[in-house]
């Protein structure tokens, strides 16, 4: 869309000048929204599912509705996109470029914990609000006091681990989980390590017995030894703090090995539509990180629009939250105008109506209503545990793999 004009312009101008050419469009009639996230590199798989399509959907919808309502005038949204190649140095360069060369009015928060935090000092210096989505950390308090314009929407690491423990405790109380034996594995990378470290003491405190506890390196192709050893420990529940490739890999092996457990959990990417598509009936009853309320009218309308505009289905977790973060930004701009400090203050002090329900950031810039655990039920990934969200479904027992 806008890319072609920019490309043609800049090929000529920038190649000669060697530097990014200043934007030629007059800033008064459009609101420039900057966006930087991986289009290539290790995190591109996730950001191409959960991040970029939502920016496209949101900007398309805003412009079809006649633009943003800024102080009574309608202004169209123009998105300037950059690829950071999953490299924090590039994220920093791109945010700098968006702020100083493209004169972006607002910038969408980057993708991933590391890249968000690398960009935080620059968002702070130029006064941009940074409504981070895919930045799950236990440092929310200290980060938001250091960077007062940084907001968190997806929750903390401990909340994710503790809700898994809660779900299992509840199953045990109800008698659907018939024992205390837990096999726990994690990918040896940032988020996997954090979740395992948070989960281990919580499981023990809740009276569970971790009968198998191991880790595997990021990018491990052959996960059959992991699943075989877990099976040999004869657990009642299998918990994997996993990343996209191994979420698929472990589940494939679990099907092959016919791992008999009453609860089976894999973390990131269990909520991807591709996961349900890949495992179909075998996915039934699998627990995973995230979730939404897919029965809510707001989510249904969102999912339909997402598919119509981008040609792909949203995932059942970060997609809707990313879109909601843009709704928050939009509502704050329409209420407070283009003054970035006023927008930040507005976000901090108000409540917003999003497709996930109401969202606010009143304590430590942290949204306190979010989904933590979901489960594949009848071909859809339903939220089964959350902090403060309505519509959680009862958890089902995992019955075999077909």
């Amino acid at each position: 869309m806008t890319m072609k004009r920019r490309t043609a312009l800049k090929l000529g101008v920038a190649a000669a000048a060697g530097l990014a050419a200043p934007r030629l469009a007059l800033a008064s009639d459009v609101v420039t929204i900057g966006a930087v996230a991986p289009k290539t590199g290790p995190l591109a798989g996730g950001s191409n599912v959960s991040h970029w399509p939502n920016i496209k959907l949101w900007s398309t919808q805003v412009n079809e509705a006649g633009g943003l309502n800024v102080g009574g005038t309608r202004k169209m949204v123009e998105v300037v996109e950059y690829d950071d190649q999953t490299n924090p140095g590039e994220t920093i360069k791109a945010v700098q470029r968006l702020a100083t060369q493209d004169k972006a009015d607002f910038i969408v928060a980057p993708y991933g914990t590391g890249l968000n935090i690398a960009a935080a000092p620059l968002f702070d210096r130029y006064g941009y609000p940074q409504i981070a989505v895919t930045a799950i950390t236990d440092q929310i308090d200290s980060l938001s006091s250091k960077f007062p314009g940084m907001f968190f929407t997806l929750g903390s690491t401990t909340a994710f681990a503790s809700d898994v423990v809660n779900v299992l405790s509840k199953m045990r109380d109800e008698g659907t989980l018939t024992g205390n034996r837990i096999a726990m594995v994690n990918v040896a990378d940032a988020f996997g390590i954090e979740l395992a470290a948070a989960g281990r003491p919580l499981f023990e405190k809740a009276g569970f017995d971790i009968v198998y506890d191991t880790s595997y390196p990021l990018g491990t192709q052959d996960l059959s030894p992991v699943v075989k050893a877990a099976k040999a420990a004869n657990p009642n529940a299998f918990i994997a703090w996993s990343y996209p490739p191994d979420t698929f890999g472990l589940t494939e092996q679990a099907v092959i090995e016919d791992l008999k457990v009453e609860a089976y959990y894999t973390a990131v990417a269990t909520s991807f539509p591709a996961f349900g598509g890949r495992f179909a009936a075998a996915a039934e009853g699998i627990l995973g990180a995230g979730g939404v309320n897919p029965d809510s009218e707001a989510f249904k309308a969102y999912a339909a629009a997402h598919e119509a505009v981008t040609g792909a289905k949203p995932d059942y977790w970060a997609s809707a939250t990313t879109y909601s973060s843009l709704q928050v930004l939009q509502q704050a701009i329409e209420a407070a105008g283009l003054d970035r400090d006023a927008v930040k203050e507005h976000i901090r002090s108000h409540s917003f109506d999003t497709i996930l329900g109401d969202m606010s950031f009143k304590t430590h810039n942290n949204n306190e209503k979010y989904w933590t655990v979901g489960q594949w039920q009848d071909g859809v990934f339903h939220g089964v545990a959350s902090t403060g969200r309505d519509g959680a479904k009862p958890v089902r027992v995992k019955h075999g793999w077909s």
């Binding site: 690829d83 140095g89 360069k93 590391g114 954090e194």
Partner: protein, 310 residues
């Protein structure tokens, strides 16, 4: 000192002054470009100090750089920042010495593969430690500004140039040039080739680690996948080759245009950056195999010849 040397020294001093004053006159955008240029100048020049004369292609830059960022990440709360840079330098040198002693007897492609594996090895060791201890990514929250980091890099660059210049004039530099031309001849002339190579490798490893230590506060969040990204090693090699590794000032002649090309590609083709970078690599290797320095020298020779005929 000859008049030519005095002229070169004066030119270098002027260039350094212009670079050091960038925070005074540069826009924020120019400054952020400046920090990238300074970072790659330091890395590529120190890389070329070793790889230029010896023709050993090292892909270990990311390993040393990552060690430096972790030094800062682990120590910034307890130790003053300047001491961390020094510690990183020492750690980088020690790592380079260990690797050098083990591998510089290897030559050609074996050495390249080993250095490429080194970054991955160090990264996995750190990941393993984190996994054992439950330690997560490190948050390096400091009050250092981008200007300060930039000036430190420029200072480090000055140090690298000074070291390179001194080595070039020393017996060590002479020994390395002989090794590069023919290692067997060098050994037969009584040069301890292993020591010479290890010493130079230590210089380049130490500088890369210090660069990592300086830049850690800029990245704020340190985790293995980001600190040891292998692409860094390749960028450094490409930039140095684009400039030319036979002159001390060669790499910077590659770093500046390459940073600008990269920026132009990032701006103009945000969805195909990797593709166009790949094409840029091919074009560089195919059309300017001797780097810009080679082109400049060719042009000079040609101009001289013309004068001669006239």
């Amino acid at each position: 000192m000859t008049s030519l040397e005095i002229r070169n020294l004066a030119l270098a001093a002027i260039a350094l002054a212009v670079a050091a004053c960038l925070p005074l006159y540069g826009s924020d955008y120019l400054k952020s470009m400046g920090i990238t240029v300074a970072m790659f100048t330091v890395l590529a020049t120190s890389w070329a100090l070793f790889s230029g004369p010896t023709h050993y292609i090292s892909l270990a830059t990311a390993a040393f750089f990552g060690v430096g960022t972790y030094t800062t990440g682990l120590g910034f709360e307890t130790l003053p920042f300047w001491s961390l840079i020094a510690i990183a330098g020492v750690l980088g040198a020690v790592l380079a010495a260990l690797v050098g002693l083990a591998t510089l007897r290897l030559s050609g492609v074996y050495f390249v593969i080993f250095t490429l594996g080194l970054a991955e090895l160090v990264r996995q060791v750190i990941t393993w430690t984190q996994n054992m201890s439950g330690q997560k990514g490190l948050y390096v929250l400091t009050d250092l500004t981008e200007d300060q980091l930039y000036l430190m890099l420029v200072g480090l660059a000055a140090l690298v140039y000074l070291t390179g210049w001194l080595i070039g004039r020393s017996r060590l530099g002479f020994a390395l040039r002989i090794i590069g031309d023919d290692e067997t001849v060098a050994a037969h002339s009584g040069i301890n080739t292993a020591t010479a190579k290890v010493l130079l490798f230590m210089v380049s490893g130490s500088v890369a680690a210090m660069t990592g230590a300086i830049l850690a506060p800029r990245y704020v969040y340190i985790e293995p996948a980001l600190a040891f990204a292998p692409i860094l090693s390749f960028q450094v090699v490409i930039m140095a080759l684009l400039g030319g590794v036979h002159r001390l000032w060669g790499p910077i002649v590659g770093v500046i245009p390459f940073t600008l090309i990269w920026e132009t590609i990032s701006v103009s083709f945000p969805s195909q950056v990797t593709l166009f970078l790949g094409i840029a690599f091919l074009v560089i290797v195919y059309f300017i195999p001797n780097g810009f320095v080679g082109l400049i020298e060719k042009a000079r020779d040609w101009a001289r010849k013309r004068e001669g005929f006239a």
